[in-house]
């Protein structure tokens, strides 16, 4: 491939993404009702959380089963900061992202020593501990002290977590969330195509080889955890504003299982997979339940079966499998119409 064709490919890809972004920004608000818009907001937020997993597992090969716990920490932090300080919204997002990032790096520290199964287990245990602590502290609702939680709610002090000044309505907030999520995806993409991305790929393929090639493994592993946690933290802040009054019940325990299942089914190696994961996690249950009146618990069964299929036959998930399958299908359909290659003359 010459550099010129490569450039053209990148341009086409960027144009397609920009067009899709424009569609996401303007088509749903014009065509769909309010409950659709709130659902799509969650889709955008959860796709960022899944993108964190793409960074950790897809790019570096470190699995974390505690991303939902981290998301809960982000939401908690944003809520607490909202009651504590009067920050402009972008600063609130950045502060939440920074604090979650610090917690995530702390959880990721053992990753320097542990890998594979044991790293997965330690993040699972970390998530369990976070769950217990959050159930005890509960989410801030205007009280004092560290937890900011009051048992008997004083209606005067109860607020909903602030939204950005030009995104107070549901539709405006949806657009704001989509733009922020697109920016976070861009940040991740910028990492993938530059030096950290190459270092991560080296670590994923072989840690000893990366070490021998002079890759600073400690730095780049921590960097991956920091990036994934920052993204998850910002997503948590958006989620706090989305819920208004987040509670412990907003983060059911099976969500950490569905997140990892949908991220793998969507495709753990690309950011498209993260978007598909968000759709599977939030939009599909909504459509099943409210539009078709189907028990959404069926989805858990389908996720389980899909996870098995991804693990056994299609490691790239939908994001990589679908284009392949579509190309095969196209070839199959085109076969009857294609002219048969005539036998070369004079071969007899």
């Amino acid at each position: 491939m010459t550099p010129r064709t490569l450039n053209r490919e990148v341009t086409v890809r960027a144009a397609v993404i920009a067009a899709l972004l424009a569609v996401a920004l303007f088509v749903p608000p014009a065509m769909l009702g309010g409950d659709w818009i709130t659902t799509l907001t969650s889709v955008a937020i959860y796709s960022v959380v899944a993108a964190g997993l793409v960074v950790l597992y897809g790019k570096v090969g470190m699995i974390s089963l505690g991303q939902v716990g981290l998301l809960a920490i982000g939401t908690w932090t944003a809520t607490r900061l909202h009651y504590l300080l009067d920050l402009p919204y972008p600063l609130l997002m950045l502060a939440t992202g920074a604090i979650t990032c610090a917690v995530g790096v702390l959880i990721g520290l053992p990753a320097l020593r542990l890998s594979g199964l044991y790293l997965a287990l330690i993040t699972l245990m970390g998530a369990g501990a976070i769950d217990v602590v959050l159930h005890t502290l509960d989410f801030p609702n205007g009280g004092g002290g560290f937890s900011g939680h009051q048992g008997i709610i004083d209606p005067a002090s109860l607020q909903t977590v602030q939204r950005p000044s030009w995104g107070t309505g549901d539709t405006a907030f949806y657009r704001y969330v989509v733009v922020i999520c697109a920016l976070l995806f861009l940040v991740a993409l910028a990492h993938f195509v530059s030096k950290p991305g190459r270092a991560w790929a080296a670590i994923r393929e072989s840690e000893p080889a990366a070490l021998a090639a002079g890759v600073n493994i400690t730095l780049y592993k921590m960097w991956a955890f920091a990036l994934a946690s920052f993204m998850t933290g910002v997503a948590g802040c958006l989620l706090a504003s989305h819920f208004g009054n987040p509670t412990v019940g907003s983060f059911p325990r099976e969500q950490s299982l569905t997140l990892i299942a949908t991220a793998l089914i969507g495709g753990i190696f690309t950011l498209w997979g993260a978007v598909i994961a968000g759709v599977f996690m939030m939009l599909v249950p909504f459509i099943l339940q409210t539009q078709w009146n189907v028990d959404s618990n069926w989805l858990l069964i389908i996720f389980g079966a899909g996870l098995l299929q991804v693990l056994l036959t299609a490691p790239g998930g939908i994001a990589q499998q679908l284009p392949k399958d579509l190309a095969n299908l196209g070839r199959l359909l085109a076969r009857p119409f294609r002219r048969r290659p005539s036998a070369p003359e004079g071969s007899a």
């Binding site: 199964l117 245990m125 501990a129 569905t258 299942a261 069964i301 389980g304 079966a305 996870l307 056994l312």
Partner: protein, 309 residues
């Protein structure tokens, strides 16, 4: 509560803690039971079964249904819980075990996560939690109580602890002194070489799945009783607490798993009387297993082959 703290700082007050230790041992027995089931399967097949809790919970729900919606005798209900655990685990192992056999332990674990999701979906669909009533599954042994060291204990708790101890030492003896046990240990060391030596590897692995499934069904039955309400989500995620016991045993030693399970149970129970800590006591398994994991990973190793991870 100040006097409690004073006592513990200047010498442990055993009288005060006795009832909590007794209760903790019963709880720890349940953790140890599941932990041993997990460790044996991990050693024999390399699969860390995260569906252990979900399978047990589904078995307990079936048992509950038989007890409350049919006129069949109780023994059938209890047996069906154990049978479900055995069959479900066995079928998974026989169908999918070979497909995952050469994969990374992490991928094997994710496979059981898929089984857990499928079972969770079925349970949430057929037996939604909450609502007007709580399901309660009481074993006949729970009706007989007696007092021990200031704590009221029922026979189910005693049974759990005894079963955990018997299972641990029974399995240890089995691994050491029978042909099948030797085959397990050989597979744990190297599956390929064991197969070359003429051991029917798949059949041995299938027997490990079956045995682990029986333990799983039994643990589901006992835990459903010990936790007073039959909440399938809580039972499913209880596997994470049981993993603490297995991790303290480094996923290898059965005796250490037993001790680990009992320790976790006792620590969790002993924290109960402290006002400031009592709400955090359920985090004890997680904290202890994080410490165990960090201890296991204290030597940095550079791993050269992907399968060795």
């Amino acid at each position: 509560m100040h006097n409690v703290i004073a006592f513990t700082v200047f010498g442990v007050d055993w009288e005060f803690f006795k009832p909590y230790i007794v209760l903790g041992l019963a709880l720890g027995g349940a953790y140890a039971l599941s932990g041993v089931g997990i460790v044996v399967l991990y050693q024999a097949t390399g699969v860390l079964n995260l569906a252990f809790g979900a399978v047990g919970a589904a078995g307990a729900l079936i048992c509950y249904w038989i007890l409350n919606h049919t006129s069949w005798p109780g023994a059938v209900a209890y047996a069906s819980c154990i049978a479900f655990g055995a069959i479900c685990t066995f079928v998974y192992g026989v169908l999918l075990g070979p497909a995952f056999a050469r994969r990374d332990p992490l991928v094997k674990m994710m496979g059981t996560l898929a089984l857990a999701l499928i079972l969770l979906g079925f349970m949430a669909w057929r037996a939604p939690a909450g609502g007007a009533f709580n399901r309660v599954l009481t074993l006949p042994t729970s009706k007989h109580r007696f007092e021990l060291a200031g704590a009221v204990v029922n026979w189910t708790q005693v049974l759990t602890l005894v079963f955990a101890v018997v299972l641990t030492f029974g399995t240890a003896l089995f691994l050491r002194h029978t042909n099948l046990g030797t085959a397990y240990r050989a597979i744990a060391t190297d599956r390929e070489i064991t197969a070359t030596l003429g051991v029917p590897v798949r059949r041995v692995e299938a027997s490990a799945w079956l045995g682990s499934g029986v333990v799983c069904g039994t643990a589901g039955l006992l835990l459903a009783d010990l936790f007073t309400t039959l909440d399938y989500a809580a039972l499913t995620f209880l596997v994470i607490s049981s993993l603490a016991a297995a991790l303290i045993g480094r996923l290898r030693s059965l005796t250490a798993t037993l001790i680990g399970g009992l320790t976790v149970g006792v620590v969790q129970a002993v924290l109960t009387p402290y006002e400031s800590l009592t709400q955090y006591r359920t985090a004890a398994p997680f904290v202890l297993s994080i410490i165990a994991l960090l201890w296991m990973g204290r030597h940095r190793e550079v791993v050269f082959s992907k399968t060795a991870r």
